[in-house]
C-alpha cells in the first residue's frame, strides 16, 4: 500500500504514507517529538507518554509513537496543553527517579536528564518516591549493574531481552506502585538466564542498567611500575569509539585509538584482530577436520553443523537454552581469550617478561566479554588470561579523563608481536564477518585458489537480515581435500539471539543442513554490541558496518592465513593448527546450564 494521507502538523499541511505514526510523520518533517520508551529497534510500547501530542477535536492527547496518522488529522506537537502535560510527565518521572545525576555513571548521556534539561525542570514539587522504596543495587554480575532506583519503567530492556534476544531474563513484575523491572523471582542477574550481552544496557535510557566498569583497576595497573600492561582492541571498537568522542557514526578511528592508548600509558598496544586471524586458522581447520571425519570416516560422533564460538553472549545463551547442542560449538576460544592465553605465554616469553607481571586488558564492544574473562576455565596460561575488560564506552572515559584531544592525535600503528592483522580479522566485528573470513581461508586451503568473489568480498553473507544463508561449491580441491570435490559447503549467519534461537530450533529439529553457522549475540554482530556507544540503532549499525568493510578493503592483507605474524606464531610456538599447544591454550570446554 503506497497510499497517502493528508494531515497538518503544527498548521502545515503534509502528505504522509499510510500507516506511519505521528512520531514518524513529525520526524519526516524535521520535528523531534521527545520519547523515552520508544526505540527504533523495538516494538511500540506507548507507556512513558512523553511523546503525547494534541489532535484537533480530541480532548485527550495521543501518544505520537503509537498513533497512526489518519486522513485529515490536525496535529499539534508543541501546544501549551502538550507542553504542560509533557513537562508534568517529566516531573513525575524525576520524582520516581534517583536523580542524583552528578554521581551517575550515565551523567551526560541520559535521556531523562536531557529531557529534564530541555524542559528546564528547575524545581521538584512532587514528592520524591525513591526514599520511600527499598531499592537495592544488583552488582553481583561481572558484566552488568542494575539499579532500580534509576529505572523509569519504560520497559526498553524487557523488550530488548525478549524481542531482540529471545532470552527473557528480564520481566515486568507486580503492578501499580510496586511495578518493577526484575528477573525470575527477583534473583540477581548473575543467577538467571542472562547472557550478559548488555543489549539492555545499550537500550536503557538512564543509568538503571550499566556495565560494571573496571576503569580504576586499569588506571591502577597502568600506574604500577612493576606491571607490564598490554591492551588488545576488538575489531568493532575502532568503528564505534569515535561516536563517544564527538565524531559522526561510521568513522573508523583505528590509528587515533592506538595513539590514544599509547598516551594513556599502556606498555604495549596490540590487536584482537590478530587473534581473530588465529581463530580462523584454528576454527577453519576444525571445520575441515570435522567435515573429513563426517564425510570420509563416517564418524557419527562428529557434530555438524559446527557453530562459531567467538561471541560470549551466544555461548552463555546456548549453554542455557540448548545445552544438548554444546558439541556443535567450535572448541575455539574467542579471539579475546586466545589473545589472553598467548599474552601470558608466547608474548611473555618472547618479550622476556614474567607472566605474573603482565596485566592483560582488553577493549571490547561487549559486556559479555567481562563475564567471559571471569570464567574459571579461562586460566590456561596459568594465570587469569585476561585481567580486565573495558567496553568501548569505558575506553572513551579513559581518554576523556586523560584530557586527550582525540581528534588532534596523529594516527599510530599497533605494536608488533600480536599487533598485525588482516582485513579478515577486522570484519569479525560485523555480522557475517567470521563466516567471510573463514571462507576466505578455508576455500583457499581446500582448493589452493582464492574464493570466487570479486575482490574477496563475499557479499551473500553480509547485510543486516537476521538470518542469512550462503553456499559455496568446492571444485577441483587439492589432493589432501579431494573428498570435498563437488561438495556444496552450506553456511548460515545469525545475529541477535532471537535469530540464533530460530536457527538452533531448526538444528535441534534436524532440518538444518548447514555445515557451518556463525552466531553473534548482538544485532549487527559486535559492531552493535552491548558495550558500544549509546545510542545504537539500525541506522548507526549500518554506518559502522560500512566503516568496517571499508577498513577491510583498505588493508594490504585480506586473508587470515597471509598474516605474517600468524605464520611466525605457528612456526615459533604453536607448530600447527589444532596442535598440542593450541589445544591447551586456544581451545575450551562448555558448561551445561539451566534453562529456567
Amino acid at each position: 500500500m503506497s497510499k497517502k494521507v493528508n494531515i497538518t502538523i503544527n498548521g502545515f499541511p503534509v502528505e504522509i504514507a499510510t500507516g506511519k505514526t505521528i512520531l514518524e510523520a513529525a520526524e519526516e518533517q524535521g520535528i523531534t517529538i521527545p520519547t523515552l520508551c520508544h526505540h527504533k529497534d523495538l516494538c511500540v510500547a506507548g507507556n512513558c507518554r512523553v511523546c503525547v501530542v494534541e489532535v484537533a477535536g480530541q480532548n485527550r492527547l495521543s501518544a505520537a509513537c503509537a498513533t497512526p496518522c489518519e486522513e485529515g488529522m490536525e496535529i499539534l506537537t508543541n501546544s501549551l496543553k502538550v507542553r504542560n502535560s509533557r513537562k508534568q510527565i517529566i516531573e513525575l518521572l524525576l520524582a520516581e527517579h534517583n536523580a542524583d545525576c552528578t554521581k551517575c555513571y550515565r551523567n551526560g548521556n541520559c535521556e531523562l536528564q536531557t529531557l529534564a534539561s530541555e524542559y528546564k525542570i528547575m524545581t521538584q514539587d512532587f514528592i520524591e518516591l525513591v526514599p520511600l522504596k527499598h531499592f537495592s543495587i544488583d552488582a553481583y554480575s561481572p558484566s552488568i549493574i542494575k539499579d532500580d532506583s534509576k529505572c523509569i519503567r519504560c520497559q526498553r530492556c524487557v523488550r530488548t531481552c525478549a524481542e531482540l534476544q529471545g532470552v527473557n531474563a528480564l520481566t515486568v513484575a507486580h503492578k501499580g506502585d510496586k511495578m518493577k523491572i526484575t528477573t525470575f523471582f527477583e534473583k540477581a542477574m548473575r543467577d538467571v538466564v542472562c547472557t550478559n550481552c548488555g543489549q539492555c544496557v545499550n537500550h536503557c535510557p538512564t543509568g538503571a542498567l550499566v556495565e560494571r566498569n573496571y576503569i580504576e583497576e586499569v588506571w591502577e595497573a597502568i600506574a604500577n611500575p612493576n606491571k607490564h600492561v598490554v591492551v588488545q582492541t576488538a575489531p568493532a571498537v575502532r568503528v564505534g569509539l569515535g561516536e563517544e568522542l564527538g565524531l559522526k557514526p561510521g568513522k573508523s578511528v583505528t590509528g587515533k585509538m592506538v595513539a590514544a592508548l599509547k598516551r594513556l600509558g599502556f606498555d604495549s598496544v596490540l590487536d584482537t584482530d590478530f587473534t581473530a586471524d588465529l581463530t580462523i586458522m584454528e576454527e577453519g581447520t576444525e571445520l575441515l577436520t570435522r567435515l573429513k571425519k563426517a564425510l570420509v570416516d563416517n564418524d557419527k560422533s562428529v557434530a555438524l553443523p559446527m557453530a562459531t564460538s567467538c561471541s560470549p553472549g551466544w555461548i552463555k545463551y546456548i549453554e542455557h537454552m540448548f545445552p544438548e547442542h554444546l558439541n556443535n560449538l567450535s572448541t575455539c576460544k574467542s579471539p579475546q581469550q586466545m589473545f589472553g592465553a598467548l599474552a601470558k605465554t608466547y608474548y611473555a616469553n618472547a618479550r622476556n617478561i614474567k607472566p605474573e607481571d603482565i596485566v592483560s586488558v582488553s577493549i571490547m564492544p561487549c559486556t559479555a566479554k567481562k563475564y567471559e574473562a571471569f570464567r574459571p576455565e579461562m586460566h590456561d596460561s596459568g594465570y587469569r588470561d585476561v585481567d580486565y575488560v573495558l567496553t568501548t564506552r569505558e575506553l572513551a572515559i579513559l581518554i576523556k579523563q586523560a584530557g586527550l584531544d582525540f581528534n588532534k592525535l596523529e594516527p599510530a600503528k599497533y605494536d608488533r608481536l600480536m599487533g598485525e592483522s588482516s582485513g579478515a580479522g577486522v570484519i569479525f566485528g560485523a555480522t557475517g564477518g567470521v563466516m567471510e573470513a573463514a571462507l576466505r581461508t578455508a576455500y583457499e586451503i581446500v582448493t589452493g585458489r582464492e574464493v570466487p568473489f570479486e575482490n574477496l568480498n563475499i557479499i551473500p553473507v553480509r547485510g543486516s537480515d537476521g538470518i542469512r544463508e550462503a553456499s559455496i561449491k568446492i571444485e577441483n580441491p587439492v589432493e589432501e581435500w579431494a573428498f570435498l570435490d563437488g561438495v556444496e559447503l552450506k553456511c548460515a549467519v545469525a545475529h541477535g539471539l532471537i535469530n540464533a534461537k530460530s536457527v538452533m530450533e531448526s538444528v535441534k529439529a534436524g532440518t538444518a543442513d548447514y555445515h557451518f553457522i556463525e552466531f553473534m549475540a548482538c544485532p549487527g554482530g559486535c559492531l552493535g554490541g552491548g558495550g558500544q556507544p549509546i545510542p545504537t540503532n539500525p541506522e548507526i549499525r549500518r554506518k559502522r558496518a560500512e566503516a568496517i568493510y571499508a577498513e577491510d578493503e583498505g588493508l594490504p592483507i585480506r586473508k587470515s592465513h597471509d598474516n605474517p605474524e600468524i605464520k611466525k606464531l605457528y612456526k615459533d610456538f604453536l607448530k600447527e593448527p589444532l596442535g598440542e599447544v593450541s589445544h591447551h591454550l586456544l581451545h575450551t570446554k562448555y558448561t551445561k546450564r539451566e534453562r529456567y
Binding site: V172, F184, Y596
Partner: protein, 158 residues
C-alpha cells in the same frame, strides 16, 4: 515425578500448553498449594515452554496469585470505601486478636493468613471478607469470631 510436577502436568493436560493456559494453570496450582513456589513456576515454564521470568511477571500481576507461602485458609478482608466505612478495622482487630497475627502474617500452625483486598463487590452488605473462595458479609466482630471458630473446629477434627 514429584507432586508439583504431576500437578502442573495434569493442569497442562486439562488446560492446554499454550500461552493462554498460563492463568488457569497458575490458578490450579494456587488452588492446590495455596501459593506459587519458585519450583512450581519453573515447572509451569518448562511444561508450556515459556520463559520463567514471564511466568513470574504474570503471576505477580494478580493479587490472588500468592508468591509467598500462606496458610491453609487465606482471609481477605475488603478494605475499599464502603467496607472501610462500615467497620472494616473492627473486623481486622477481631481477627488479629483471635489469631494473634498481624496483617500479612500467617499463624504459626500454618492455618490462617490474614490479608486485605480491594473491593469484593459486596458493598451493600459491608463489611465483607473472603476465606479462600467463600464469601462472608455484614460482618461484626462477634460474627467473625464465630466464623473463624468454625474453621478452627473443622480443622481440629481433621
Amino acid at each position: 515425578m514429584d507432586p508439583i510436577q504431576t500437578l502442573v502436568k495434569n493442569l497442562a493436560e486439562k488446560h492446554g500448553r499454550s500461552r493462554e493456559s498460563v492463568l488457569p494453570i497458575l490458578q490450579g496450582v494456587v488452588e492446590q498449594e495455596k501459593f506459587l513456589s519458585e519450583r512450581s513456576m519453573i515447572e509451569i515454564a518448562r511444561e508450556i515452554d515459556i520463559p520463567a521470568a514471564d511466568v513470574y511477571g504474570t503471576a505477580t500481576f494478580y493479587s490472588f496469585l500468592e508468591t509467598k507461602p500462606t496458610g491453609q485458609f487465606i482471609i481477605r478482608v475488603c478494605k475499599t470505601i464502603t467496607c472501610a466505612m462500615k467497620g472494616k478495622n473492627q473486623i481486622l482487630f477481631a481477627i488479629e486478636d483471635m489469631l494473634k497475627i498481624g496483617l500479612g502474617e500467617t499463624t504459626p500452625d500454618k492455618q490462617f493468613t490474614l490479608l486485605e483486598t480491594n473491593c469484593l463487590g459486596w458493598c451493600h452488605k459491608a463489611p465483607a471478607m473472603l476465606i479462600n473462595d467463600e464469601i462472608y458479609t455484614e460482618l461484626t466482630p462477634e460474627k467473625v469470631r464465630e466464623i473463624l471458630s468454625g474453621y478452627m473446629k473443622v480443622n481440629a477434627n481433621h
